[in-house]
């Protein structure tokens, strides 16, 4: 009996040991592979809205939009060598009706699920559109609507055709409609219902179809994302185990956090800190992207910029290479709204360069000189999204223009005052009699790059034609491009339009941002696309 018990005991012990060894064999490698966490310091002061349509501008879309959610059409962010194009997202294909170019049919991708496991289909798409456009629908969310409706100006109607097809009708023929749909992101109706229709709760437990899932949200402090292992695009399943996003609006705080190893990646390091970071082995990445830093002129009575010679002189007076050196190389000189290698640049005759002698001659031709300088007033900001280093850059320009006889006086506003003024126009009291405004912008698509600034119908309060440009030729070309659905033909019209803009010296073009980022050398795999948005999925940590 005793022997039998002892045998049983030994057998049990043996089994337990074998089991333990087996478990250890499974567990130890998992432990040995340390969790890869990527910590990013954003420039935002808070965690952008996580319900679907992010706030905080394009940084919101970059980190809490395209990570958790998809659009019908996504940006292809895989290349660093060319300006990003569009790629199918939650729609597999789309086409415009040749008979009625106001109608767009979108075929939705099948076998896609939201993070909560519910199905993506036409009903989910229509539910999301009601969330934005139907004020009477229970899921209508004023905040999300406010963040996106302005980005899709021609959306008129939408309807379900079948379970995987939807039909959009635009208010007028609009070849740029697909670009606008990149801003419309889709949240899970099932998750919203499971959370009793509470968008605040949804913000804490969002569910989209994107490559990352949000697992933790601490307002103003951090958001944590983990990979969505079931993401429909297997090429874009994230490499890191966790991404921690930390709002850190002060550039000096971001720099210190990187140098003291509190974060692995910082957005927009201060230019003067870059040599220091490089000396400590940090990687600085940059790449030009569709961003322009200009002076947008007023064409109203009394503005000195109505004279083309003055506009051309200003463009010739600024030494952009000198400015580039001032910024530690972190800019690309701008000789138009788009970069010279872009299909929309065209072949302008007026060559924008640094030529102060020619600038002096042009001013003299218009009756200006040392005793009669041009007097101009400009609205500028102290900081702001995409504004780069506005004070240093504006002072440099002020000095450059003064050297050829253009006396520039600044009206300095904080960013939150300057930005809303954009839509109010040069004649609004908040413009303080200024003749130009200095607001940077994205030219991801022709509407946002050209139309909203240069078409006469978008003068305030309808759009951002701040300076009340009213040129029938600009209107004609833009209208034509908007209804030209053949891409090459459309590019040709836009190239003609842009060349005219440069020949007219319609604006003072100064710089394109290069989106500097600083990261610890252990961060690998990042491809900085020529876009405001970036893909975090290929990034990994190499210890």
């Amino acid at each position: 009996m005793v022997y039998k018990n002892a045998t049983q005991t030994w057998r049990r012990t043996g089994k337990a040991v074998a089991l333990s060894i087996g478990l250890a064999a499974l567990v130890v490698p998992a432990i040995a592979k340390a969790e890869q966490t990527l910590r990013i310091a954003m420039t935002a002061s808070d965690i952008p809205l996580t319900t679907g349509q992010p706030d905080s501008g394009f940084e919101g879309y970059r980190f809490l939009g395209y990570t958790i959610y998809d659009a019908l059409i996504n940006w292809d962010l895989s290349s660093a060598d060319e300006v990003s194009g569009l790629t199918p997202g939650l729609a597999e294909s789309w086409e415009v009706d040749e008979e009625n170019p106001r109608e767009w049919t979108f075929v939705l991708r099948e076998d896609v699920t939201f993070h909560d496991g519910s199905e993506w289909n036409a009903d989910a798409a229509i539910w999301n559109l009601d969330k934005i456009y139907d004020e009477d629908s229970p899921q209508f969310d004023a905040r999300q609507a406010g963040n996106v409706r302005g980005r899709i100006p021609t959306m008129d109607q939408y309807e379900k055709v079948d379970d995987h097809t939807i039909l959009f009708t635009t208010s007028e023929p609009d070849a740029w409609f697909p670009y606008q749909l990149t801003f419309l992101l889709f949240s899970s109706p099932a998750q919203w219902e499971a959370l009793d229709g509470d968008w605040d709760e949804f913000a804490r437990q969002p569910s989209g179809t994107g490559p990352f899932k949000l697992t933790r949200l601490v307002p103003r402090e951090r958001a944590e994302l983990v990979p969505n292992a079931d993401y429909w695009d297997e090429q874009r399943i994230p490499q890191v185990d966790r991404v921690v996003l930390i709002p850190m609006p002060e550039s000096s705080s971001r720099t210190s956090a990187l140098l003291s190893d509190q974060v692995d990646w910082i957005e927009t390091p201060a230019a003067d800190a870059i040599p220091r970071m490089e000396s400590q082995g940090m990687t600085i990445t940059s790449n030009p992207y569709p961003h322009t830093w200009p002076y947008q002129f007023s064409m109203l009575e009394g503005s000195p910029w109505r004279d083309i010679n003055v506009r051309k002189a200003a463009n010739l007076a600024v030494d952009r290479e000198g400015l580039q050196a001032l910024l530690g190389g972190m800019m690309a000189p701008a000789v138009g709204t788009v970069t010279p290698d872009h299909p929309w640049f065209g072949e302008p005759e007026f060559e924008i360069r640094y030529d102060p002698e020619e600038a002096l001659r042009l001013l003299e031709e218009s009756g200006y000189g040392p005793d009669n300088p041009v007097q101009a007033r400009a609205l500028i900001s102290t900081s702001g999204s995409g504004q780069m280093q506005p004070l240093a850059m504006n002072e440099y320009i002020q000095q450059s223009l003064a050297e050829v006889g253009i006396e520039l006086e600044f009206e300095v506003l904080d960013w939150e005052s300057l930005f809303p003024n954009w839509r109010r126009g040069a004649d609004h009291q908040t413009s303080r009699g200024a003749h130009s405004t200095n607001i940077t912008f994205a030219w991801l698509d022709p509407f946002n790059g050209f139309y909203r600034f240069m078409h006469s119908s978008l003068a305030p309060p309808n759009g951002f034609n701040w300076g009340y440009v009213d040129d029938p030729e600009y209107d004609r070309l833009l209208d034509e491009a908007r209804v030209t659905f053949d891409q090459e033909a459309q590019d040709a019209i836009l190239a003609e339009f842009h060349a005219k803009m440069v020949d007219d010296a319609a604006w003072l073009w100064v710089a394109h941002d290069v989106g500097p980022r600083a990261m610890h050398p252990r961060v690998k795999g990042f491809v900085q696309s020529q876009n405001w948005f970036q893909d975090l999925t290929p990034v990994y940590i190499e210890e």
Binding site: D46, D55, E135, G146, R149, R222, P247, S253, N462
Partner: protein, 316 residues
């Protein structure tokens, strides 16, 4: 009516006046609250739609009335910038600010009382001159400059202490552990410097004044030991020191905006800073109101304590 009851009742009109003042202040300042809610791209019908949803289309007196009614029920509305409950935002930030303030006060008040007493006792000595120099220096140093300097030395160069945040996780996980305490050290030291200087100067002056009184001579003449005399001096210095420390504590809670910004400390200072730049009026109003009420209550407690320590105040 007793002094205590009267003093407590005064709090009601003061709080209401503070509420009206902070509501008016943020509405009179330039900027449109809608700028925080909708992007500049939004067409005017969207702006109007959101305006209705947030109640910004109502007349100001009506907005104030609704705000006060909700505020007395503990509801400070929703943030215009992120749609979250202002009360939740403010109280979660206040908890972090209180933590920082208590730490800074402990450092500042302890050192201030110590240095002030030493300098007051040995007035005119080398020690006094050193302490006075230190006090003048500490009240003259800008907070944010000292903060950045400490970050450069202790975070960037030496890599001893973290430069930002309230801890390795979030402030909600805060625990009395080294991993979190090390985040507190630099901001607390930075914030403590000015109150330390002020308390040092005040205590030094009052100690010197009390020591010059005849009763101290009388106590000594009666043969009282030095420590007993010291206790009498402390009792006479306490009401003034307490008043200064109470005020400083209030200033620390409301005035840590620069330090919290430099160290990304998630308190009311950082909340206010962000709300100002985002034109987030509900958060601005709520934060200022809560801080003002805190300040009023702190003054009340200090007054009551002072009256308890010095009965002459009650008679006054």
């Amino acid at each position: 009516m007793s002094y205590f009851l009267k003093r407590i009742l005064y709090v009601i009109p003061v709080t209401l006046a503070v509420g009206l003042f902070c509501f008016s202040l943020v509405h009179l300042s330039p900027g449109d609250p809608m700028d925080a809610v909708v992007s500049a791209d939004a067409p005017s019908e969207v702006v109007q739609m959101v305006q209705r949803a947030y109640g910004f289309d109502r007349p100001l007196p009506e907005q104030f009335g609704r705000w006060v009614l909700r505020a007395v029920q503990g509801d400070l509305g929703l943030s215009a910038a992120n749609g979250r409950s202002v009360a939740t935002e403010v109280f979660s930030a206040l908890k972090n600010t209180l933590l920082l303030t208590v730490a800074a006060s402990l450092i500042g008040f302890t050192l201030g009382c110590l240095f002030g007493t030493l300098a007051g006792y040995w007035q005119g000595s080398l020690l006094d001159r050193l302490v006075t120099g230190l006090a003048v220096g500490s009240v003259s140093i800008p907070h944010y400059w000292l903060g950045m300097l400490l970050v450069i030395v202790f975070s960037v160069e030496l890599n001893w202490l973290p430069s930002s945040g309230a801890g390795p996780g979030s402030s909600g996980d805060w625990a009395f552990e080294w991993a979190y305490l090390r985040h507190l050290i630099l901001p607390a030291i930075t914030l403590s410097v000015i109150p330390m200087g002020l308390v040092t100067r005040t205590v030094r002056a009052v100690v010197a004044e009390v020591l010059a009184n005849e009763f101290v001579e009388a106590l000594r003449a009666k043969g009282l030991a030095g420590t007993r005399v010291f206790l009498h001096v402390v009792k006479n210095v306490a009401p003034t020191a307490l008043a200064v420390m109470g005020l400083e504590l209030g200033y620390l809670i409301g005035g840590s905006i620069l330090v919290e910004t430099v160290f990304s400390w998630p308190g009311t200072g950082l909340l206010l800073n962000n709300a100002i730049f985002q034109r987030d009026l509900p958060v601005l109003q709520g934060t200022i109101l809560v801080l003002a009420i805190f300040f009023v209550m702190l003054n009340l407690i200090v007054d009551l304590l002072q009256a308890q320590l010095d009965p002459r105040i009650k008679r006054g």
